[in-house]
């Protein structure tokens, strides 16, 4: 096992997949000469040259559509969004073109493309730069959604996403890039899409979550341990495909669940998961499931309000206590 940052793990995944397959190229704003706005593509220009590591104009709709067309014609583009906040300009091409192409053409045009970049809030970036975007993408059939929370998951899942023949929205976190963790040395370390990971084991309650929120969940789980409460922390890792078996398994074990997500509650990922749990494991529930989310408001700038708006470990603990009727 090597210890590396989330950023380095992504960088390795890109490098390895580009070495493996000459059809893989990376395009986006500042990815080449600047090494990426968050330095994820550091050194790749030098290694792979201008044809494969491409600085784009600030034209999100344009270069996303370009990627989709290139994928139709057989390449395997990795399109970087400086952040997914800017991908709203491009979501037409993701949903209307990429996600539907295979279906509309009755399977003639697979869409092996990855859209990647950070999602969610960092610190005090205010309303237009602090949005958790996964729900927009998971809503559309035809688009896969991946949200790694650790360096190992980042590497293994990015490699899988690049090899996948469907469009994948691969969502990172700005505050995760410096996060360090162990990554297997295996030179072909691939984590299949659709497999959740139990990040912490306990039998009393299930905290189900995805993306960078796993760290908030783990923090809550640790605090709860001191209180004698043992929580399962289930990291979905991918939202589509969804590892429903793992969800049902933990719920059957604990009979109580909390869903934690970074984004808004209304029609959020948690709403989908809760609905499915009651459909598939209703008899195993001893309490209504509670969701912990961002406050139902655009992200405010002021530091104190931002703290109030974001979901925290304390919110999770409160929710856990509620589902345990404590």
């Amino acid at each position: 096992m090597a210890v590396m940052t989330y950023r380095e793990a992504l960088n390795e995944a890109l490098r390895e997949e580009m070495e493996r397959d000459p059809d893989v190229f990376l395009m986006g704003e500042e990815v080449a000469e600047y090494d990426g706005a968050y330095k994820v593509s550091k050194g790749l220009l030098e290694e792979f040259g201008e044809q494969r590591i491409v600085d784009s104009p600030i034209s999100e709709l344009g270069f996303t559509g370009l990627g989709v067309g290139a994928a139709m014609a057989g390449l395997r583009p990795v399109i970087e969004f400086m952040t997914f906040n800017f991908a709203f300009l491009a979501i037409d091409q993701v949903i209307n073109s990429a996600a539907k192409m295979y279906y509309m053409s009755e399977g003639q045009f697979p869409m092996p493309i990855v859209f990647r970049g950070p999602t969610g809030a960092a610190l005090q970036l205010s309303a237009q730069h602090s949005q958790a975007c996964e729900t927009y993408y998971s809503h559309a059939p035809g688009c896969k959604v991946v949200t790694p929370g650790t360096p190992a998951d980042a590497k293994g899942l990015l490699k899988a996403a690049i090899r996948d023949n469907d469009p994948v929205a691969f969502m990172e976190g700005e505050s995760l890039y410096n996060f360090k963790g162990e990554v297997p040395d295996d030179d072909d370390f691939v984590i299949p899409l659709g497999v959740a990971d139990l990040k912490h084991e306990g039998g009393d309650v299930s905290i189900i979550t995805h993306g960078k929120m796993i760290h908030v969940a783990l923090q809550a789980a640790q605090k709860l341990e001191k209180d004698g409460i043992h929580a399962d922390v289930l990291d979905l890792r991918t939202i589509r495909p969804l590892d429903m078996d793992a969800i049902v398994e933990t719920v059957k074990k604990t009979n109580r669940a909390v869903y934690l997500e970074e984004g808004w509650p209304y029609a959020g990922t948690g709403a989908q998961i809760v609905s499915m749990i009651q459909e598939e494991a209703f008899d195993h529930l001893d309490a209504p499931i509670i969701r912990v989310t961002q406050a139902d408001v655009p992200m405010p700038y002021a530091k104190n309000l931002e703290i109030l708006a974001k979901p925290s470990a304390n919110h999770v603990i409160e929710a856990v206590n509620k589902v345990l009727y404590r």
Binding site: E29, E30, E33, Y34, A37, D55, S56, P57, I58, S59, E60, L61, G62, N85, F86, F88, L89, L123, Q124, L125, S126, A127, Q128, H129, W264, P265, Y266, T293, Q294, A295, D296, V297, P298, P300, Y301, A302, K303, N304, L305, L308, A309
Partner: protein
């Protein structure tokens, strides 16, 4: 000071001709100096505030580009509209937003122009017709076109002036908006603050054609202006706004300028994308404040003492703004849910995180 003025006037007729040529009075020229000094000192204060953690998030400074703010906004009327992107602190000041309100917004405080909820990238002031502060590159361009639509719709004699960076012209929305503005002959002035770079990307790397060509396909007149020469800017925008408010239709301005700082407070001033030498040279040769100072001093309109007084005043206003911001409290917790909706309907639920829809929240 009057003495120095007359004395020097004889010695450099050529320079004082600059004022005459642009139809700018000595008084006005001094006012522009005062304005630009304030912008410079204000931004330096913001820089300081960022360094000590009073200001967070992204903070993009306008240092080096002050003439563009003073020279294009000052000639406008109070009821003209101005909109911008995220490098907008000084433009807000130019449109009349109080320095205290801008600084308090940067600090995320209750007395900020958006009550602390917008921050550096989202300064708004409806009374001053300063229409924001927008964070998505190019996003403001269609919005300003909509404002121009309203002006024409209501038959008003105002203009909608919008700033964008050079990188914004590569967004689709820019092209769609300009086409509509031309088709409907809207009173919009599109100003590209062409500082040659979008973050670390030189404009020449992302465009095969010159900036001056960008609006041509839509039938919009294009103008190139030295954005470091505040007198030229002022005269140009004064005349242009006058034409536009009387039906000349949309206009495109390539305002050539240069950014002296990094893209934002978290980006380097120079690096692989531009050399230390390039920045040094620009600061030496293209500092809009130094350029105006030289012109006015040579014309005998300004002396060292007056300049220092003006500068001291600019520093004081900035310091006062920082003190004001510091003294202003953070927004109260009730602000979190306030102003999500303009109307709380009697039926149906609006919030979905289980928090109460209390009256005081809106």
């Amino acid at each position: 000071m009057a003495e120095t003025k007359t004395k020097a006037k004889k010695s450099s007729r050529k320079k004082s001709d600059a004022l005459a040529e642009h139809g700018i009075s000595e008084e006005l020229a001094l006012e522009l100096m005062r304005d630009m000094l304030l912008y410079r000192r204000f931004e330096e204060k913001a820089e300081e505030g960022y360094a000590i953690g009073k200001i967070g998030g992204f903070c993009h400074l306008h240092i080096g580009q002050e003439a563009g703010a003073a020279g294009s906004i000052k000639p406008l009327r109070d009821d003209d509209y101005v909109m911008s992107a995220y490098r907008e602190h000084t433009q807000a000041l130019a449109k009349g937003v109080h320095p205290n309100a801008v600084m308090a917004e940067l600090y995320g405080r209750k007395d900020g122009s958006s009550g602390g909820k917008g921050g550096s990238m989202h300064i708004f002031d409806a009374d001053c017709r300063f229409m924001g502060g927008h964070g998505i590159v190019g996003g403001q361009v269609p919005l300003a076109t909509g404002i121009a639509w309203k002006i024409k719709y209501r038959g008003e004699e105002t203009v909608s002036l919008v700033f964008m960076g050079d990188a914004a012209v590569n967004q689709g929305g820019f092209h769609e908006a300009l086409n509509m503005a031309a088709v409907w002959n809207l009173p919009a002035i599109y100003v590209v603050e062409n500082n040659e770079y979008g973050m670390g990307t030189a404009f020449s790397r992302v465009s095969r054609t010159d900036m001056s060509t960008k609006a041509v396909p839509y039938g919009i007149p294009s103008h190139t202006v030295d954005g470091q020469d505040v007198l030229a800017c002022y005269a140009f925008f004064r005349d242009l706004a006058d034409k536009v408010r009387h039906g000349a239709g949309p206009q495109f301005v390539d305002l050539q300028t240069y950014r002296f700082r990094g893209h934002s407070m978290s980006d380097p001033v120079s690096g692989t994308y531009r050399s230390v030498e390039e920045v040094r040279q620009a600061k030496e040769e293209r500092d809009p404040i130094a350029l105006l100072r030289d012109t006015l001093m040579e014309a005998g309109v300004l002396d060292q003492e007056t300049l220092e007084e003006m500068d001291a005043e600019a520093r004081q206003v900035s310091l006062d703004a920082a003190d004001f911001a510091e003294a202003s409290p953070p927004p109260g917790p009730e602000a979190l849910y306030a102003n999500v909706w303009a109307e709380i309907n009697p039926n149906g639920r609006l919030f979905f995180d289980g928090r109460p829809e209390s009256e005081e929240a809106n």
